[in-house]
């Protein structure tokens, strides 16, 4: 375990060093994320114009969902996108061989190798929006709520990670998979709104097929201190299940890997 932490530290220092060659990126990314966020808030405000509500969610509560979404987007830019896009490159060039020959879990290496600081503004803005909106919505910051909220956010990150990882791992067969992750990213955009805002059919799809509901709505409910025990348990179960599935899937995919011929 200690070796994994040391490795993680070295991984991230190395990638930060590489990324900081391009310092202007940070400012650009901050402006872009803030712009995106303002746009999303505006769209959301349109729904609430004239005293309407969205799927039974108040304006402030819906902002919490948007905050969670922004946070997840930030994590995607920081960790998921840069790491998992390299799986494709590894398969294409055959350098996956080097990863597989390291005495360290290959899924760990592939998922944690790079750290891109450009998603940090998104994480910051998302966290800020969550705290502000939760306060406005009158959520109580007692330790129990905070603990449960934290747990559900972790569960949602694990689910998001597993979705990405499984999709990226299919590049073992299809190599050019990168467009598919763009599709995933577009589907996940649905997470900007509470899942109850969607018609019943889509709601079922976003709960059982692509678990968008567990990505933003359930953590938001937990943050607002009103999630039911059943949903919390379901969220944890889905998270544990997706992580297990991603590990199983990776081992399965590796059995087919014969590496690009040389």
């Amino acid at each position: 375990m200690g070796r994994y932490l040391t490795t993680l530290r070295v991984f991230w220092i190395a990638s930060l060093t590489a990324e900081l060659e391009y310092k202007a990126n940070f400012l650009i990314e901050l402006v872009a994320t803030a712009g995106n966020l303002v746009g999303s808030v505006f769209v959301l405000s349109l729904f609430y114009g004239g005293g309407r509500s969205l799927g039974g969610w108040s304006w402030e509560a819906a902002l919490v969902v948007l905050g969670v979404y922004t946070l997840l987007e930030g994590v995607t830019t920081t960790l998921l996108q840069p790491n998992l896009s390299t799986i494709v490159a590894h398969v294409r060039t055959g350098s996956l061989d080097f990863v597989l020959l390291k005495p360290i879990d290959s899924q760990f290496w592939l998922s944690a190798r790079t750290f891109s600081p450009w998603g940090l503004p998104g994480i910051g803005l998302g966290a800020g929006l969550i705290i502000y909106a939760a306060w406005k919505a009158g959520a109580s910051p007692d330790p129990r709520t905070v603990a449960i909220a934290g747990l559900m956010l972790i569960a949602s990150l694990l689910i998001l990670y597993s979705l990405w990882f499984v999709l990226a791992a299919t590049s073992i067969w299809f190599v050019k998979i990168w467009n598919a992750t763009e599709v995933l990213r577009s589907v996940l955009v649905a997470g900007r709104f509470p899942v109850s805002a969607f018609p019943a059919g889509l709601r079922a799809f976003f709960t059982f097929v692509v678990p968008v509901a567990f990505l933003t709505t359930v953590p938001a409910e937990a943050i607002l201190g009103r999630a039911s025990g059943a949903w919390l348990l379901a969220g944890l179960a889905v998270a544990a299940g997706s992580i297990a599935a991603s590990r199983w899937f990776w081992r399965f995919a590796l059995r087919f890997y014969t590496s690009a011929s040389s």
Binding site: R3, T6, T7, R9, V10, F11, A14, T17, A18, E21, T93, G94, S95, D97, F98, L100, L101, K102, P103, I104, W109, R255, Y257, T258, S259, S261, S262
Partner: protein, 327 residues
């Protein structure tokens, strides 16, 4: 006790059998045909600790497939492999810490960063303490004649410098078994020679076992007392380079220095003329008739000097790979 042991090793691939062009693609889509390719068949050998073994074969002969089975990157279809006391394709951490694979056309160094950063990553992954890793980097850098290059981004290094840095990265964990797949590919003659002397030095200093594939025969002749030759997926030869030459080259080369120049027709009854340059003549004479023919040459012609040698191994192996056939 052998450190590398392969017994009846085999690997078959199923590949799509597809005609070129759109029509072929459509036909393939409707009626998928596959064919089985036997990349490696029934290969057995054992390598003792500290041996330096050359692994020869034409492109597509099965060298890389065998190396991948030995390192555990692919599962054998049949037979067994044991390397450093472990079954490679289980990829146990302990086993992975005792081997390394260097591939001339693939790289593990981080492109945008100096090699030192990649080395730091490797040290962490292999659990090498900081002080120890610094010591090893200094030692290997010294052997490889690498200095400032370790602090320059990899993308700014020459191919030769990059290969040396790759070797350093691959050897930082002090592996007991080295699998080297074309480590001198594309390097100029000087860089090749430096890599070669480093490998010899490393093998001596650390008693490491090395299995080397190379298309440059100079690598093999300089480094490998023993060679394995694989042809069409099967092990064709396992032994010294010298014996291989005898087996593959049925002729020996006889060099003559004559008293005065003679035309090619004068040698018709003795052997195949390779070259005539003034008074210098090179002939190829079948081994079994060598003594007899040399005797006749000395008796019949005014010979000043005569020497017998094997044709250069490059020529023999080169001819073998070009023809793709073995006698």
């Amino acid at each position: 006790m052998a450190i590398v042991r392969a017994q009846g090793l085999g690997k078959t691939y199923r590949v799509a059998d597809k005609q070129p062009g759109l029509a072929g693609t459509l036909r393939h889509f409707l009626n998928r045909r596959e064919r089985t390719i036997k990349a490696v068949q029934d290969v057995s050998f054992a390598i003792e600790p500290g041996e330096f073994v050359g692994f020869l074969g034409a492109n597509g002969a099965g060298k890389t497939t065998t190396l991948k089975m030995l390192t555990g990157l692919i599962h054998p279809t049949s037979g067994t492999v044991e390397v450093a006391g472990a079954i490679p394709h289980r990829r146990e951490a302990d086993f992975l810490g005792r081997i390394t694979l260097v591939m001339g056309q693939k790289q593990q160094l981080i492109w945008d960063l100096p090699p030192l950063d990649s080395l730091r990553v490797n040290a962490a992954v292999y659990g090498i303490p900081e002080a120890e890793s610094r010591r090893r980097i200094a030692e290997l850098a010294d052997m490889l004649e690498l200095g400032d290059e370790l602090r320059r981004p990899v993308r700014k290094l020459s191919l030769g410098q990059r290969m040396k840095a790759e070797l350093l990265a691959a050897l930082l964990h002090r592996p007991a078994v080295l699998f080297l797949d074309e480590p001198t590919l594309g390097l100029d003659v000087n860089a090749q020679a430096r890599v070669r002397s480093f490998l010899a030095d490393y093998n001596r200093r650390f008693g490491a076992t090395v299995l080397l594939t190379s298309h440059y025969m100079a690598d093999i002749t300089a480094l490998c007392p023993r060679v394995l030759l694989i042809h069409e997926g099967q092990l064709f030869y396992d032994g010294t380079l010298e014996m291989l030459t005898q087996r593959l080259a049925p002729c020996r080369e006889v060099r003559l220095e004559l008293h005065q120049p003679l035309g090619a027709e004068a040698f018709a009854g003795y052997g195949e003329v390779e070259a005539i340059e003034g008074r210098q003549v090179r002939l190829l004479i079948p081994r079994e008739r060598l003594t007899e023919q040399v005797g006749r040459l000395l008796a019949d012609l005014a010979v000043v000097d005569l020497s017998v040698s094997d044709p250069p191994i490059e020529d023999i192996i080169g001819r073998l790979f070009r023809q793709g056939a073995l006698a």
